[in-house]
């Protein structure tokens, strides 16, 4: 089981979070066309490597976190608040 160090709530069990997919994928511009959106929605590398992903802390602060996790060891290298979202000051 993952234990994710939430910057607002402290270390919490994976079960408190909802996985929201790869965080590297950026939503294309509106006019980018079907191929770009198809890649955004469906195409993933699935690498044996560090993976940047969104986790929504639904049972805690309900904030979106950007987590860098290794897909083989599950080691978590970094967790940060969604960039640009309000509230830069850190919790405990």
């Amino acid at each position: 089981m993952l234990r994710i160090p939430c910057p607002w709530c402290g270390v919490r069990d994976e079960s408190e979070f909802r996985y929201r997919g790869a965080a590297e994928a950026r939503r294309p511009e509106a006019a980018a066309g079907a191929a770009a959106f198809n890649a955004y929605v469906y195409e993933r590398d699935n690498a044996r490597d560090w993976h940047c992903e969104w986790w929504l802390h639904v049972a805690g602060c309900r904030r979106l976190l950007k987590v860098v996790r290794h897909t083989v060891t599950h080691e978590i290298r970094s967790v940060e608040a969604a960039p640009g979202a309000p509230g830069a000051e850190r919790g405990r």
């Binding site: 607002w8 709530c9 079960s15 408190e16 904030r63 608040a81 919790g91």
Partner: protein, 182 residues
Amino acid sequence: MACAALPADIIELVALRERMQVLKALAARRGLPVPATGWIASGRETLVLCVRPERWLVLTVPAAPGSALAAWQPACAGCAATIELSAGLAALCLTGPAVREVLARGCRLDLHPEVFVPGSAAATSIAQVPVILAALPGGWLLLTPATTAEHFRDWLAATARPFGFATGAGVTVASLAGERAP
């Protein structure tokens, strides 16, 4: 362990984008503490919790319906969203030496007194329902959604039975706030 219902008016204040300092100044003028995320603070007959960044739950002694919101909404225009949650959250006060042992049967957080020190507050889930938990010198404040509150109280009573369970009474926001958190 005893569990008492805590009658309270509850307002949530949420800072609008980049209006945090304005809200803090307003709070300061009105004598409302604004604790950091993960903490509870008490003001005059008021408890303020912060378990979500830039959002504060303000608990006050119950007054006429709508008056708690009316006290804040006009002043907050332009700096904070104000939402009334008095009926949406059930507030409970847990007291007694067995609270930690009982909660450990559903709560995944480390509630050890040196970790979850008095004044700490956290949102988590217990017995499969959302719970906001805060440690005060005089007891534990617990907020849970109204529609699952009965389920939660049933779970609490059943879980606490081996430790001795009683329904408490007479707890107010004022009495809890009076014991000032550090």
